[in-house]
Amino acid sequence: MRTILTGNYAVAEAVKLSRVKVIAAYPITPQTTIVERLAEMVERGEIDAEFVRVESEHSALAVVYGSSSAGLRSFTATSSHGLLYMYEMCWWVSNARIPLVMAVVTRTIGPPWNIHTEHTDILTLRDSGWIVAMAENAQEALDLTIQGFKVSESVNLPFAVGLDGFVISHTAEVVDVPDQSSVDSFLPDRKQAYVITPDEPIAIGNIAQDEVAMRLRYDMARDMERSKEVIERVGREFGEKFGRKYGLVEHYMTEDADYVVIMSGAWCGDAKEAVDILRSKGIPIGLLKLTYVRPFPIEELQKIEDREVLVIDRSFSMGHKGILGLEVGNVLDCKNVIAGLCGVDMGVEDFVEIFNRFVRGEIKEVEWWLK
């Protein structure tokens, strides 16, 4: 059904369609309307789930860690300071190999207080063993949430869906909401590596010897690597079922492009229009969207090794460069523009200007786009 939904409501719809059993979340702008909508769905009996009103984000993830360990499909959502407050639990969940899905509505970290989008918050999950996906619009937020459960439960790693605060979370736009039976046939019943039950006296997470514990990390690394193939397969299956194909990256006019811009998140839409404008003037430029930041699509990037590459970052690693700039820079030579931090608005005309400077060879190694 085609309708108008905000990104946050689209996520809530996806959670409902995924037949989630336990939802725990603490309000934080701009994530709040996800949990408000889910609480409403639970109260009205539109979804057969329990909603737990926790007292903090740390407990939000702790509750869904508990329910997921018991075999119940679970969901939480957070943003910025909330994500940082639950950071310890993030690592615990992934290291315990518990599949679950969390929406991260990206927002600047203070001070100063600022509620607008930036990707530095979700990118703190980079090293934690979470699969990290970034939505470009409300439709992708819905689609990636549903795929998230399937991917997560296939590789026993938690899954974060990032959606830009306000830009996606509160923008009402056209979303095609799939029907329940199609989602049911796409998303199988929950499976996971182990379930804690009263019937079997096993202990989960006892102290382990160094050498033995390291093997678990090795296991995790291999499963994260394997998740690439799972993400591609699930994205293909989703495409066959719903007509919208997904993968680790999305190519936009890159095939014959001499210049490739790499970006992630909501502003890719504006950047695609800027690509169109440069193309109309005969400039061979394309855009590679990182739909997934973890696992990192190294092989996809190696394919564009011979092009001029620019990474535009909505995040920064203090003392070095943009976080995606760092990541991509590990695979191929690239220039790096830091823009749109703290929610600074970036429109088509900004990207046209940046792209023109990039094509003319005027962009420095690392350049801040201050307004």
Partner: protein
Amino acid sequence: MKLADEIGCPLLPGNPSCQGCPHAIGLKALSVLKNPIVVVPAGCTTIIAGIHPKSSIDFPLIHVPFASAPAVACGLSKAYDNVVVWMGDGAADIGFATLSGSAIRNDNIIVIVSDNEAYMNTGIQASGTTFWKAKTTTSPTGKREEKKDLALIMLMHRVPYVATASIGYMRDFVQKVKKAGSTKGFRFIHLHSPCPPGWRFDSSKTVEIARMAVKSGAWILWEYDGKFRLTGASRKYREKDKRFPLADYIKAQGRFRGLSDDDVREIEIKIDNVWKVVEVLERTF
């Protein structure tokens, strides 16, 4: 029925607990619950639970981060009955918001705080429940602040069941665990657990010291199940003249070494004040 016939030994021999460990004694009480799942945050019991691939505890057990235990238990309780949090006073300090939040939600879980009055697992640092003047590595000349009364704080959350207990009075503790087990909602037991290395007394005296705490009135056994009442041995120590000398309890512990008679009298006043609160609660609550 003899207590020995009622309780089992879920903690298996050969575990890493210190000699005379109070938690090791207390854990036995969980054997009266039907099919419990035990949630353990960071603390001494993290170690006591054993080293992979062996588990020292014959229950399903899940290790969880320090401040998270009641919340994880809440999640588990969406699938199972009899989810028990077994945590120390350290976890109750760092995870106090989690504990309070769980109580406010009236989560269907049992929380037992086995309180050895300091952070023992990290090597005896002062906690919120460390007694005034007790020496720890972070209060080397004796703690200057008061001991917080966790059970009374939890009682004020208006949950269905709150009790104090002592590892020196296992019959009383087992009764309380049973009662908690047959109640629904958030249930809380604050268990007094004297620690030989932490309090500096001989490992053979764990039970003796625990009993001295009750006999001297320094630890009061009570429960609330809709009605507040003193239980077990503490009933006879309501009258102060029946209590054992407080100085004997204090002086048996290395952590109080060097306390003056004035200090002991000061402690006595603090204890008398707690009794006043308990007596009011007993009459009115």
